[in-house]
């Protein structure tokens, strides 16, 4: 039971962090629960489909189907996260003002919610497809051991949800005036980390081989396989042995998001005063 608990928990842990951040980022916006739940449901469905077609997917693109698929959906999530930050840079202040004025959740921000729901779906799909494949294999195994393993898997999922809850609760204690800055930073780092992950998959597919020398090895300080390492990997994109290309793309993603946020932000002087 313990091995399956740990395997499922490791995947649920990473998805849980991302869902917790999205929940905190969207707190106060009307209907966000439904959007996030929708994202999770889409992710679970997608995970089952991907698990079902693992072998066919793998064979595509000269054997690199899995890597390209992962790189593709991660890239899509990066664009969604970047878009969210740009949208918030433009509308965040009026959103916060409306919330203060109305004293309740506002209806605006549906587009931004959709983008974040996609991010949730991608995270759940990626981690979930491995959970589905693993649990399916366990369920197909001989009787007694199978049931115990499934129970372990279920507990692992519950613990992963706990991680999500703790992340959410921890983030919403941040005072409102800092919340925008903190969540924008978290989202930008999440995006940069996912971009570097996408690069890792392209390198694994042998599609991207430029600048593939390992720049540093900090696995002796913090291994990516440890839980703190995994948390940092998901939150800020920490990699214990990054390639130069991964670092370049990480920095470029951060720079691009910051630049776009600056470009599209509404300067204070030109904003109309509230009536």
């Amino acid at each position: 039971m313990l091995p399956s608990l740990l395997i499922v928990f490791r995947e649920a842990f990473e998805a849980g962090l991302i869902v917790g951040i999205v929940m905190a980022v969207t707190s106060g916006v009307a209907g966000r629960g439904r959007w996030v739940a929708g994202g999770i449901a889409a992710g679970v469905f997608g995970a089952c489909v991907v698990a079902l077609f693992t072998q066919s997917l793998s064979k595509l693109f000269g054997g690199s189907g899995q890597e390209l698929f992962n790189a593709g959906i991660l890239g899509f999530a990066v664009v969604m996260l970047g878009w969210h930050n740009v949208w918030m840079a433009r509308h965040g202040r009026e959103l916060a003002a409306e919330m203060r004025a109305a004293g309740q959740a506002v209806v605006t921000g549906a587009k931004s919610l959709a983008a974040l729901a996609v991010v949730v779906a991608v995270a759940v799909l990626r981690e979930g497809s491995e959970v589905v494949l693993f649990l399916y294999g366990v369920a197909a195994a001989d009787g007694g051991a199978g049931v115990g393993m499934l129970a372990g898997g279920a507990i692992g999922l519950v613990l992963g949800s706990l991680v999500c809850l703790l992340t959410y609760l921890g983030l919403i204690t941040i005072p409102t005036r800092y919340l925008f800055g903190v969540t924008s930073t978290l989202i930008a780092l999440l995006a940069a980390g996912m971009a570097a992950q996408a690069i890792a998959f392209l390198e694994q597919a042998d599609i991207l081989t430029a600048f593939d020398e390992t720049v540093w090895d900090t696995s002796w300080i913090l291994s990516e396989a440890s839980y703190p390492g995994r948390a940092l990997h998901t939150l800020i994109g920490y990699v214990d042995q990054p390639t130069a290309m991964q670092l370049i793309v990480y920095a470029a993603t951060l720079a691009a998001i910051l630049l776009l946020m600056r470009l599209f932000a509404v300067p204070p002087a030109r904003r109309p005063h509230a009536a």
Partner: protein, 112 residues
């Protein structure tokens, strides 16, 4: 505009060519199978500084995830399926890999 377009085209061609050259016929191909929760062979060898292509067949009845933290690869292989994993050129050393779904299944890539 025409000069700019030509410059971009030249740059793109050079980049594509260099990527192609970088992946020249230097690749070392190794085969592995997973059966009865074991890698066969448990130990594989490859020369240093050359890209490595691993052909892995999962002869077991459950899915497995071929993973190595040190080689930076992870790939899920369905039951009865097979997969190709590309590994970057490595320095001499021993690199562990395992089945993430069944941690007791382990192997090592030895680069002398």
């Amino acid at each position: 505009m025409k000069k700019d377009q030509l410059a971009v085209l030249l740059l793109a061609s050079v980049l594509t060519a260099s990527i192609g050259l970088a992946r020249a016929d230097e690749t070392v191909t190794l085969s592995l199978t997973i059966k009865d929760r074991q890698f066969e062979p448990v130990e594989v060898h490859a020369p240093a500084g050359k890209p490595i292509t691993l052909h892995i067949k999962n002869l077991g009845s459950t899915a497995c995830e071929f993973e190595s933290n040190e080689l930076h690869v992870e790939k899920v292989i369905a039951a009865g399926g097979e997969a190709v994993v590309h590994v970057r050129p490595q320095q001499p050393g021993r690199y562990n890999f395992f089945d993430d779904f069944h941690r007791e299944t382990k192997g090592v890539l030895v680069v002398p």
